[in-house]
Symmetry: C3
């Protein structure tokens, strides 16, 4: 199993369009996202996001938040913990909370999930994005599940 971790933030004229713009910024705006919850196979490898075929179906874990209140601080975070026999992913998104806390909460939740499964953590990765809303803003952080069928080979 191969995954990529991405994030993005953007403004837009509507909630849908600001969300779409944030997905574009994250590099996953041209595919069909299917939301899944949130486990990783053993021996999961982390890669840079390759170029995805427009219009293909892509499984992902997605943390996202939108607001149209000027000045709001919006944060989205994914925490990934990889162990010997599996891995766990946590999504966390918050409004007007310290970005440090959003990150810390995500980390604590994924550590708890791994300890519940008796898994030792080999790798812990946290991706976070924050944004101060101007008009209509959205943040996204995502773990994208990669496979041969969705990637453009060059």
């Amino acid at each position: 199993m191969k995954i990529a971790i991405v994030s993005g933030k953007a403004e837009g004229p509507t909630k849908l369009n600001s969300f779409d713009n944030a997905l574009l910024e994250a590099g996953i705006g041209d595919v069909n996202l299917i939301k899944v919850s949130s486990m990783l196979e053993k021996d999961t490898e982390l890669e840079l996001l390759p170029e995805l075929k427009p219009g293909t179906m892509v499984n992902c874990v997605l943390a996202t938040l939108s607001s149209n209140k000027k000045g709001d601080i919006i944060s989205a975070s994914v925490a990934i913990a990889i162990g010997d026999s599996l891995g766990c992913v946590v999504e966390n998104s918050k409004i007007n909370e310290s970005p440090e806390n959003v990150k810390k909460e995500a980390e604590e939740m994924v550590r708890y999930m791994m300890s519940k499964r008796g898994e030792k953590i080999h790798d812990l990765i946290i991706e976070e994005v924050n944004h101060v809303v101007e008009d209509f803003g959205t943040v996204v952080a995502s773990v994208v599940y990669l496979n041969e069928n969705i990637i453009i080979n060059k």
Copy 2:
């Protein structure tokens, strides 16, 4: 990639049942719907909805709204724009808003998505459904992603 565009509206004794009845009216009541967001491959072809195998897994974009307040006008709309290298789909649903506006909003959002991607629009299709609630009403508008495995061949 082949798609079909459908819509339906219905009443029912509960929210779940009115939703199910609206799906039946739209022709997609007997399959498992997996919601995806909302891009089309290049050379996407529009077809009439074929007969689907009961119980198969079907990817779709779904706009839906339910209300149990007698007299509410509920509207659901999908707007599809197809360009040279990809296509975009927008879902929009509103309560007690002019059906013309719901349609117009969906069109504006999908035009914006295409312009963000530098795509010229060759085809623009908008499907819309409106319903005045009596008891418990639901509207659905959907873009259904078709493939060999989900269709009954005759």
Copy 3:
């Protein structure tokens, strides 16, 4: 088509973690859940949940509810009706309602779905779970769609 019916309940330090703990108790905590709505093929067979490969993608119907208000009674239920040419699944979750009612509502809704389709019910199965919240509690009831790829063969 083969399905398994499972349920679980658990407490946890956060909503996400109590949900994850309830999934673990139900036996589906180590996979990626993709939510689908809610039809069964003809000749669907009911099996005990086999051991699932950690990190695989698993389609399911999921009824779930969480609360952090001490003393709340939370209930989740799935009702499965199997007929000659297809089957229907209903999910129902409620807070502080009689568990008998939650079950009865689910049964009535699935009976209505089958009668709308002109299907006679051969088998009717209802799975229900209830929990009195202490700290942060979650209940889950689920119909899991099984296939060769997600099962550990021994």
